[in-house]
């Protein structure tokens, strides 16, 4: 009858022990009201002529900084760090014990999923810079005399970043639906398949494959559009996040990626709600099946709402309506980041630090390899739930405001004059639905 204490990371329920308290009703309503009000203020008062132009926006970074980040040794150093990280991951995956104190779970579910996007919002395209695959493909190209961006076959343009959307779905399925997601062998299998696909894809299509089909690189590079770091004709420039965001290419599949990222985070909040739990546990069908359907439904619903909102506008002659969703999808990126921060902030601080502690003991034999084993987990956020809730709502509202402004800019750039105001309304309604829905999930779970 004595409780058996196990790690701060857990089986059957993803990673992490206690979860945040729901935000208060007052805070949720205030956040939602501000979001709605700001949306219409933007619509009424914002600029009427396009402001951002990828060809001219941004000012060049200081010469020493450009020289540094573009130097061969700096790039090589970053890729080398990525290669060492990959080697470490392989060691803990292959030789580590199947215990919750194996750092692989925290690295996979917290550092990669939440840490990398936060780092990308601060420093730019982190995954691309660290990607060991790019080092391998560059090495192969150098040996064979080819160009590292082009492989044996040209990457089919029409595929766009759809493969990345699928890969991201594979990740969130593993995180949110698969019941044995904190057993070592399924995580090892997932990473093994990922590694295999990346190496084969890179050999076939070159670096273009990584920019389009590596789920983590696509995720990281999209969030990096909200950083101040951009490129103009290859030159490193500093831009405001809004101007930088506006340079996001409208690659086919962008709607898919956005839908998976936002839909899955919303489902993560929803799946623990009393309503969903009592429902799925009362139907008599397996919870696994119903969670599968739930995740899929959330991602499809987000995609469908967004897609409908984008095409419900008047267009000019010869303006293909079906291109609009991909052209507008970039404006959901800040909403995604705001919601991910709100949802995973305490998680990334607490389990992220826990993981840093565990990395010093890769083989679970009590060693303190990097000296991080003696750190302590900061539970400050958990002890200050009001502060945490306020920060969460601020993240959601800030993401919403940036998203609305980004969509407004795109609308006045793309749509014919007479449809500019009315054309924005459906998308604005969709964004308000996403934000208010997100706040509702933070409130009700």
């Amino acid at each position: 009858m004595t409780p058996l204490l196990i790690g701060g990371l857990l089986p059957e329920h993803g990673l992490g022990g206690a979860q945040d308290l729901p935000i208060s009703r007052g805070l949720a309503i205030t956040g939602a009201a501000i979001a709605v009000a700001v949306s219409f203020v933007v619509l009424a008062l914002a600029w009427r002529t396009p402001r951002y132009d990828a060809a001219t926006s941004g000012r060049p970074a200081p010469v020493w900084l450009s020289a540094l980040v573009d130097s061969v040794w700096w790039r090589g150093l970053l890729h080398l760090i990525g290669l060492l990280a990959l080697a470490y991951l392989i060691v803990v995956a292959v030789f580590g014990k199947d215990l919750l104190i194996n750092p692989i779970f925290g690295i996979f579910y917290v550092w990669i999923w939440v840490g990398v996007p936060i780092a990308s919002a601060l420093f730019g395209r982190v995954w691309r810079a660290l990607s060991p695959f790019r080092l391998i493909s560059t090495g192969i190209a150098r040996l064979s005399g080819g160009h590292p961006d082009e492989g044996l076959i040209t990457y089919p343009e029409r595929l766009g970043i759809w493969p990345a959307a699928l890969g991201l779905y594979g990740f969130v399925w593993m995180e949110l639906v698969y019941p044995h997601n904190v057993d070592l062998s399924p995580v090892r299998l997932w990473l093994g398949v990922y590694l295999g696909l990346m190496i084969i894809g890179g050999a076939l299509f070159g670096n273009t494959f990584y920019a389009r089909a590596d789920p983590f690189e696509v995720y990281s590079s999209l969030i990096a559009r909200l950083s101040i770091w951009g490129r103009r004709d290859g030159q490193l420039v500093l831009r405001s996040p809004l101007a930088n965001l506006d340079t996001t290419p409208a690659t086919p599949g962008l709607v898919g990626v956005i839908s998976v990222l936002f839909g899955s985070t919303a489902f993560d909040a929803f799946r623990d709600s009393t309503r969903w739990l009592t429902f799925i546990q009362g139907t008599g069908y397996s919870t696994y099946l119903q969670n599968n359907l739930g995740l899929l439904a959330f991602c499809l619903a987000v995609g469908l709402i967004f897609w409908l909102a984008c095409i419900s506008t008047g267009v000019g002659p010869e303006q293909p309506r079906r291109r609009l969703p991909d052209l507008f999808a970039f404006s959901v990126i800040p909403i995604v980041l705001g919601y991910i921060l709100a949802h995973y902030l305490s998680y990334v601080v607490e389990i992220g630090t826990q993981t840093l502690i565990l990395t010093s003991d890769p083989l679970s034999n009590g060693s303190n390899l990097f000296g991080t084993g003696t750190l302590t987990v900061p539970y400050w956020l958990s002890y200050h739930p009001t502060f945490l809730a306020t920060v969460k709502v601020l993240c959601v509202v800030a993401g919403h405001v940036l998203g609305v402004i980004a969509a407004h800019e795109r609308a006045i750039k793309l749509l014919p004059k007479k449809h500019q105001l009315t054309g924005q309304l459906p998308l604005l309604a969709a964004m308000i639905a996403f934000t208010v829905g997100g706040l509702y999930l933070l409130f009700s779970t």
Partner: protein, 122 residues
């Protein structure tokens, strides 16, 4: 998840004891509260409660009164340490370590693969 649990205990407690130390000062809030008694009844594949929210105070003592038709296991997904309980057929009383910080703690039946309830600690 029973594998090498003992080893995990040793290592993780080394990591997390320091975190517990800081929480002891704030565990006073729920000390005066009467013990929260939660009745759990297992009958075949059914269980009550079945996915509800239960409010508790931070630091409040929590007792699970289990009535079961066959033995099983309950997981309490608390931080910094998870708690696992085994119970036998018949009636048993399980003492849950009070929840040290505000938050939501999911309590699951490992046997039925269902969430019994979520403790909402304020």
């Amino acid at each position: 998840m029973r594998r090498l649990v003992a080893l995990a205990v040793t290592l993780v407690s080394a990591f997390t004891l320091s975190a517990c130390g800081s929480s002891s000062s704030s565990s006073g809030a729920g000390d005066d509260e009467p013990t929260k008694v939660i009745d759990i009844t297992f009958d075949g594949n059914d269980v009550t409660p079945n996915g509800t929210d239960i409010d508790v105070k931070v630091g409040q003592r929590i007792e699970l009164d289990v009535t079961a038709d066959k033995p099983g296991e309950i997981h309490v997904h608390s931080s910094p340490e998870e708690q696992e309980f085994e119970y036998d057929a018949g009636s048993s009383t399980l003492q849950v370590t009070p929840i040290p910080a505000p938050g939501q703690v999911v309590v699951e039946s490992h046997t039925l693969d269902k969430t019994l309830f979520t403790l909402v600690a304020r």
